[in-house]
Subunit: 274 residues, 2 copies
């Protein structure tokens, strides 16, 4: 999906919600466990219930890989089931030397080779330019580069002073912005501190940002939008656990729908006021 289409979807649905399918087989409702593939069945019902209110789905590959071959099958089946008018994200945090990153790009972008063709993949920046560039060779596909994450460990390296003016996460944004454009690069920016977005927007005024950490991880939607939005919206706000585990009973899909609708309502008001 290209940038224009993504922005259209945001306007159409009055939403910039991304729903994270971090589907943990130990957390899904008991009544699904005797279906053929409980994880896929759960995802299917979550997608059906929520697709009206979100513009994107993010699949956290770790949760699928942890179940080996069966998990990788759930991953492919889930990708196949995603509505093609939503922006799909393989949250895989990949990155390696050039010839290996080419293989990762194939894994997530080249349906003929791997059975999947996501719109985007999350990528770790540590190995630099040739670890990211192979992802940018695919038309209308995106690399979403880790800049500032919302976890405790983000303090270990991301805030190191990389030069007199910039911390490491700023340096990552500055450099990576040159590897592609705002048509094929986004950044992951954790939402635990809204005002960090002022700094981010200094370096990447026009890029889309993928923002985890609103809700369960403690960030405020209002703050993120206040400091992080740009004229095209420029934000995809992810919610995983708060939506998909809204209920653990037979009503899980309905509860997820309600939760997604609530967030979408807030987002509609914010978009209106833009």
């Amino acid at each position: 999906m290209n940038r224009k289409k993504l922005i259209e979807q945001i306007r159409l649905k009055k939403s910039f919600l991304c729903i994270g399918l971090d589907t943990d087989i130990t957390k899904i409702p008991a009544h699904l466990l005797d279906t053929e593939d409980p994880v896929f069945e759960f995802n299917k019902q979550i997608i059906d219930a929520t697709k009206e209110y979100c513009v994107s789905y993010k699949i956290n590959t770790a949760f699928y890989e942890s179940r080996g071959l069966a998990g990788w099958k759930s991953l492919i089946d889930t990708w196949n089931y995603l509505p093609k008018d939503t922006f799909s994200i393989a949250d895989a945090k990949r990155g390696d030397i050039g010839n290996t990153s080419e293989m990762y790009a194939k894994a997530f972008f080249d349906q003929e080779s791997s059975g999947m063709s996501f719109d985007s993949v999350t990528v770790a920046p540590y190995m630099g330019t040739d670890s990211v560039k192979p992802f940018l060779k695919f038309k209308d596909k995106w690399a979403i580069i880790l800049a500032l994450t919302s976890n405790e460990g983000s303090k270990d390296f991301q805030f190191l002073q990389a030069d007199p003016e910039n911390k490491l996460f700023e340096k990552v944004i500055q450099k990576a912005a040159d590897w592609g454009s705002n048509e094929n690069i986004m950044f992951v920016v954790g939402a635990t501190r809204g005002d960090a977005f002022l700094t981010i927007r200094k370096h990447a005024p026009n890029h889309f940002l993928l923002v985890p950490g609103v809700g369960a991880q403690g960030g405020s939607l209002a703050d993120v939008c206040k400091y992080g939005m740009n004229k095209d919206c420029g934000l995809l706000i992810n919610s995983s656990r708060a939506v998909i585990y809204a209920s653990s009973g037979h009503d899980f899909a309905q509860a997820a729908r309600e939760e997604a609708r609530k967030v979408q309502n807030e987002m509609a008001i914010i978009l209106e006021a833009m």
Copy 2:
């Protein structure tokens, strides 16, 4: 495999060679293509032919993921076939927030969950402590943390001056060394400049280092050993393409064996002189 056993294997085989199974289906000999799983068949024959001369196998997961479900099956089958007296490395460059890294650790360490239990996984450091710690909870398993890589893009961030005394890759080694011990942490150190090992050894005198980049990527074995060895050897030197693609004909396994034997001979002489 614990540190003691690894050192024993190095002494026994007079080798610290790791063979990288970066198996690309477009590069394997044509006569294998009509077997049921050409990639696994190739790996099997390479393993049989070389296991006498190496102490470790490194599987580059990207090459398997790129082929979707079939590739993930080749990966599991290959892991199953690895001799249990060799040190197995899932070269996966994973890393995410704590609860997600737990899932990645299950994917590569918890056989009951995923069908695989490698001795180690390569891990990207950018997200800090909680992205690595879940890998350290498994007994006799290792996290191999990216410190200094051998690719062009390593210059983008790894050499940034992180404080007056240390570059970023040094900071990564200093911090990460505290997350575990030399019994469960190794570092990836690219071999394109042998004297960089002087700096590395200042920060991690006793850790094992996984060294790609000898051979195809241009590093010299003698230089790496001169500057990088410690009293326990402390090195696993990886060779992928130079060994596994030594010939593209019917004699590919024999040619790989010859190549591995040649490297092992050099290593035996170096170990003798220690």
